[in-house]
């Protein structure tokens, strides 16, 4: 896909990575307060080539190859945001975000609160996360659970090109800091139609990607696409699974989840991040608090194991990740209740 101003009408089929790229491009065209900063985002055009050509088109003042230092990539973007710009800071891989933890949790998320609104921090931190790409311990992690405990932070994790465009636009518009997670395995493996023209998707709104009546499956990231495949397989066996794409991890959509669970009376939550203290724990607790007596089965969670990370060797990676077969089996088991 070439970098051109997005057409105003009709839809375009593109991959997730192209959706990120064109949305960033259009934001740079639309608003000169927007600038992109990170490691290798300039001449190299980002390690996934997301910003390729941006340096030539927008100049080094707006496409900034930063020194190799994640804490200050985020910290300097915070200062820019407090001073009225709309920076988009990139952390090259989510695994590298730990040096910036204080800047995100202690500074960005608390700027509005600690100054009682005297200062705000409208910025986006984009980062590719997730495994299944032979990324080993430090190019595969999921980080959402480390951050979703933090009030003041918004966390988005869309999984389709159309959702990426709408939510990345919403993130850039958002008057508060947004952590924008892009599952790197979906970058080139997921393709879809994207509406032309500018649009946003409301932050905090989940999306029913497949309607169903017997089981509710909540997921996001690459797992979402596996869950959809598993659900489609089960259709042939007469098991109807409703698949909800969470899209927004903080805030989360109580209404869509509860409406679905009240209909199916069975819930499975699937995510790549490890299970203990993960996103599924909060969803389970909410559903248990709000709809316990409407459930026909115990809530099921299918998630990563309690080990530090997936290994480099293929069997270690495969063992860590939830397979589509495991999802289908779990959905089928749950439907029997």
């Amino acid at each position: 896909m070439t970098v051109t101003a997005q057409q105003q009408t009709g839809t375009t089929v593109m991959t997730n990575v192209e959706a990120v790229r064109t949305t960033l491009h259009d934001a740079l065209v639309r608003d000169d307060r927007v600038l992109i900063m990170g490691e290798d985002v300039g001449a190299r055009g980002n390690v996934f080539l997301i910003t390729k050509g941006f340096l030539e088109e927008f100049g080094a003042q707006r496409i900034i190859d930063t020194p190799l230092a994640e804490a200050s990539i985020v910290g300097i973007a915070i200062g820019m945001a407090m001073e009225g710009l709309r920076p988009i800071a990139e952390i090259q891989f989510a695994d590298f975000i730990y040096p910036a933890f204080n800047q995100i949790v202690g500074e960005a998320a608390k700027t509005r609160y600690r100054s009682n609104g005297d200062y705000t921090c409208p910025m986006v931190i984009r980062t590719p996360y997730g495994g299944g790409v032979r990324g080993a311990l430090s190019h595969s992690v999921s980080i959402e659970a480390l951050f979703y405990h933090v009030p003041g932070l918004t966390i988005l994790a869309p999984s389709t090109p159309a959702d990426i465009k709408g939510l990345l636009n919403a993130a850039i518009e958002c008057p508060d800091p947004v952590l924008f997670l892009e599952h790197k395995k979906t970058y080139r493996s997921v393709k879809g139609e994207v509406p032309g023209g500018y649009y946003t998707i409301p932050i905090g709104k989940a999306d029913v990607k497949k309607a169903g009546t017997h089981v509710t499956a909540v997921s996001y990231g690459y797992n979402l696409h596996q869950a959809l495949e598993a659900a489609n397989r089960l259709e042939g066996d007469g098991v109807s699974v409703e698949v909800i794409d969470l899209r927004s991890i903080r805030p989360m959509d109580k209404t869509t989840i509860l409406d679905s669970v009240r209909k199916t009376r069975k819930l499975i939550i699937i995510h790549e991040d490890n299970k203990f203290g993960g996103i599924g724990a909060e969803i389970s607790a909410m559903v248990a608090e709000e709809a316990f007596f409407e459930l026909d089965a115990p809530i099921r969670r299918l998630a990563g194991p309690d080990v530090p990370a997936m290994g480099y060797a293929l069997p270690l990676e495969e063992e860590f990740l939830v397979s589509t077969d495991q999802m289908a089996d779990a959905m089928r088991e749950l439907a029997k209740y």
Partner: protein
């Protein structure tokens, strides 16, 4: 090397400062000391939970504040910058509202004392995490440069302990690479709570680190407001006119414990403090201005009465304010209503 202020009779090296500016610096220093004392008094009276003093930093901050250009520059202070806050326009009432954690405090009683915010005056909101704010200061300077706002600069302050932090290094490095309009003022009081300078670094001066970043580094006498003004003014002027960043190190001393919760008798002797008190910048600057004929004894006395009255009035006025309501705990988490669980129709 430090510029020294020569004090021989009326031969005051006033660095181009008018009588009015010199008196304003003295008044700032007197008010700092009065407010410092008030914070500790209120704490010992059980009226406030915490206070933190900047005794020994008065000259640095009065001098640096005089070099700050209101309406153009932005101050990104650290937590021991009472005099800078006052010098750029914050009031004793604001300071006391913060100490009492009353509704008239800008953060509405959320922030710890000495963690100022005042967007109107260009005082950036900070946290307590050392040197994290330096990156924000660089971001503000980057925004000035990006928008082509010549004539504006950022004054970012820290103690010497902050220069051990990675984020201080990252900030100075980034500012140097991009030639940003920012001055890193290090108020070297020799102590980071109980840890002395020689346990923080293996150089005699923080400014010695400047060449590693390709930046000018200056050391000035932080017990002299005029000397500090000269160094900070020169660095800010260069930054405002596109000459890039600098590190200015003002050598001062921390006369008090780190805070009302600290007891410095556990780690340093009384003798050394008494020795350093002999050079106390506040009476010394007062004597200098009298000696130079800028003020007379009567004016000096009236200035002191004036800041005491101002402090007393601000204390009474702030104490009379209401606490923030419990409901205010829930506001300004994010724009609009705070709901981690979204509900839709």
């Amino acid at each position: 090397m430090p510029k020294t202020t020569v004090t021989r009779g009326r031969e005051l090296d006033r660095a181009g400062l008018s009588d009015e500016q010199l008196i304003a610096m003295l008044r700032n220093m007197l008010l700092q000391r009065q407010l410092d004392n008030r914070g500790f008094q209120l704490n010992r009276q059980g009226k406030i939970p915490f206070a933190l003093g900047s005794e020994g930093h008065e000259a640095v901050q009065a001098g640096a504040a005089m070099a700050f250009e209101r309406g153009a520059d932005v101050l990104v202070p650290y937590y021991r910058d009472l005099g800078l806050a006052l010098g750029v326009g914050m009031t004793a009432f604001e300071i006391l509202s913060s100490l009492f954690a009353r509704v008239t405090d800008r953060s509405m009683g959320r922030q710890f004392p000495n963690h100022y915010t005042n967007h109107d005056l260009g005082v950036l909101s900070i946290s307590s995490i050392i040197a994290g704010h330096c990156t924000h200061a660089v971001g503000v300077a980057a925004a000035f440069k990006y928008r082509g706002e010549a004539g504006r600069a950022v004054l970012c302050t820290t103690g010497e302990g902050a220069t051990s932090q990675g984020e201080w290094h990252e900030s100075v490095n980034y500012a140097a690479v991009h030639a940003l309009p920012i001055v890193f003022l290090v108020e070297n009081n020799e102590w980071a709570i109980s840890t002395p300078q020689d346990m923080q670094m293996h150089v005699a001066n923080v400014a010695d680190k400047a060449p590693a970043y390709g930046l000018p580094g200056a050391v000035c006498d932080g017990f002299s407001p005029i000397a500090t003004y000269v160094s900070v003014h020169e660095a800010l002027e260069r930054a405002r006119s596109g000459g890039g960043p600098a590190i200015v190190e003002a050598k001062c001393y921390r006369f008090l414990s780190h805070s009302t919760d600290d007891d410095d008798r556990t780690y340093r002797s009384r003798e050394i403090i008494e020795e350093r008190r002999k050079l106390d910048p506040v009476p010394r600057f007062e004597a200098l201005l009298i000696d130079a004929g800028v003020i007379d004894e009567a004016r000096a006395k009236s200035l002191k009465q004036d800041v005491l009255r101002e402090t007393n009035e601000a204390t009474d006025a702030a104490e009379a304010q209401a606490y923030p309501t419990p409901e205010s705990l829930y506001t300004n988490v994010v724009a609009g209503d705070y709901r981690p669980w979204q509900e839709f129709q």
